[in-house]
Amino acid sequence: MNGARVEFRGLRRRFGATVALDNLNLTVEPGELIALLGPSGCGKTTALRCLAGFEHPDEGQVLVDGKDITHVPANRRDAGMVFQSYSLFPNLNIRDNISFGMRVRKVAAARRHERAQELLELIGLPQIGGRYPHQLSGGQQQRVALARAIALEPRVLLLDEPLSALDAKVRVSLREEIRRLQLSLGITTIFVTHDQEEALSMADRVAVLRDGHLEQVAAPATLYDRPATPFVAEFVGTMNHIRGRAADGRVTVLGQTLPVDGDAPATGDVDVLVRPETVLVTPDADGGAMVMVSSFRGSIARLTVQLADGTEVLADVPGHDSARLAPGTPVRVALVERPVLVAPAADGAGSQARPAAVAVAEPDVV
């Protein structure tokens, strides 16, 4: 089983006044797992449904291995899909659920059962063939849905937020399992999610969507370290904006001078974008800053630190340091010595990009 190359070309889709897809262009390489990430209403699910055939674009094409499938009916497409809500057929037992597609294609019963058993073993649930969906837990149901989706050996696998209905522990183990299966089958997979942790941990590449168009598509580490747009910077992970002054490809911020990552803007006031984990906080009576809030998260504690000028900065410190950095502690704030991203200052000429970034609620980093 090999994956197919999937291309979205200039997809547009409008629902009444809302634009779900606005000229989406994206190529998914054979065998790749790509995550479509974005806030709700960004068009990621619409894109997936266009590929599955449940939604028809107003303009543009969907190509699988170079073949235009935009007008192929949903039941003639070579793509397995796992849905967000539990989608097993309640009247069929697990074995019949998995072999539903083979039954439609009139595969002989013996061969069907054999293949269903094979898939049940693949998902680690060999005993449950005779049970009914309502007798399974949510995680088991989604595993079976996954087995059902790959039963016909499709060349594309579509996952529409398959983990969002599950509790946290099951979610983590199932996403690892999906990734393992996907790698061993080499199937091209498109994974829609609004959970950035899921996207970053599973995908070969992550495509961030906003208002129906692609903001950036890149490997998880690149996306996190070098977000191409302020929106991506805000949406993926958490970003501090600290006022600094740029000059000659370097920027002076918090008394440190750091190299600028990427294109250095003209000299002048800039916003320096800094991840909380690159902010160093040490207790210091003369540090000029103070811990305002400390939120303990086990391995780390996230501090809200107020600088001398009133700016608040988020900083992640190791969990065991949280005791000596309790709220009210005077501290010194520094940045890790590494290139930083800068954006035009919020009140300056860069007003074009900023409001959009501000409009997005700060994503929750679990």
């Binding site: 599955a52 055939g53 449940f54 949903a74 039941n75 003639r76 497409r77 793509a79 397995g80 899909m81 849905f83 809500s85 539990y86 989608s87 097993l88 057929f89 309640p90 009247n91 539903f100 597609g101 439609v104 294609r105 009914y132 309502h134 849905a145 059902r148 989706a149 016909l152």
Partner: protein, 287 residues
């Protein structure tokens, strides 16, 4: 339907063990009151049919049912009308309701209103309208091919016009039953999952939606059948000998037999209800 209550209530009682006494007492009181309400008229009817002033207890009235003129024909006619009505009303509503749920959710409210409308039209108004239309036959259509159609739908052996009228009367009940059934399953996701696995639309409807809608279909069917077996006004005013009309006709000459038939038809209805609800129960335990 309400007559099932007494038989269901005892089954629900055992889990009350170990609970405080008071609710059980109340439960008993409610059960007794409900039982009296339903059992007394039935019992009275039964006593009336078996009590003969001269000879005492006799089952003669029940014996006479089967030999009474027109019994078999009218019962078969009503059952036949019921079955055809069920088939027609389901063929009309089910695809429409599935289509509205999948493709045009905005039409759901209009559909609901249209399907519920027959509830507010009194049968007498309804039948007045129907007979007016039927009179057009001889008056205006005598020279056209429609005249034959008008005559055919009034064939006394199988009056299709009653089927059409009953389809309209049954719409609200069928709509409610199917709506509840469709609401219990995620029609959209299930049909998309089936489409994704290669199923054509007919396959989706017959192999995915209908099997998961069995209890809704059963209750729609039962309600329609009960309605047709009990409908009197329209059949009487259009002069067709359906079962209720026949009971009414013989009650003038043989009062005891007519009440015996009523008791008998209640038993038949119960039997059908039991059959249908056990079909529904089988589905629940199976799925």
């Amino acid at each position: 339907m309400a007559t099932v209550t007494p038989s269901v209530a005892p089954a629900a009682a055992p889990p009350a063990k170990g609970r405080p006494r008071r609710p059980r007492v109340w439960r008993g009181v409610v059960l007794v009151v409900a039982a009296l309400y339903f059992v007394v008229p039935l019992l009275a009817s039964f006593v009336f049919t078996v009590d003969d002033p001269s000879t005492g207890f006799t089952l003669d009235a029940y014996g006479q049912i089967f030999s009474a003129e027109g019994f078999g024909r009218s019962l078969l006619l009503s059952l036949g009308l019921g079955l055809v009505t069920i088939a027609l009303v389901l063929v009309l509503t089910l695809p429409a309701m599935i289509a509205v749920r999948l493709a045009a959710p905005r039409l759901r409210t209009p559909l609901e209103v249209v399907c519920t409308l027959p509830l507010v039209v009194p049968p007498i108004t309804f039948v007045a309208g129907i007979s007016t239309v039927l009179r057009w036959g001889p008056d205006y259509l005598a020279s056209t091919p429609f005249y034959q159609t008008i005559i055919a739908v009034q064939n006394p052996d199988f009056p299709l016009v009653l089927v059409f009228a009953y389809v309209v009367l049954a719409l609200p009940f069928v709509y409610r039953s199917l709506d509840a059934g469709l609401g219990a399953i995620d029609v959209r996701t299930l049909s998309e999952a089936a489409r994704n696995l290669g199923a054509s639309w007919p396959h989706v409807v017959f192999r995915v939606i209908i099997p998961n809608l069995r209890s809704g279909l059963a209750s729609a069917g039962f309600l329609t059948l009960a309605l047709v077996l009990g409908e009197f006004t329209i059949a009487q005013l259009l002069s067709f000998q359906t079962f209720p009309v026949w009971i009414y006709t013989i009650s003038g000459s043989q009062a005891q037999v007519s009440v015996a038939v009523s008791v008998f038809s209640l038993l038949i209805t119960w039997l059908l209800l039991l059959l249908l609800s056990s079909a529904g129960a089988r589905q629940r335990s199976g799925s």
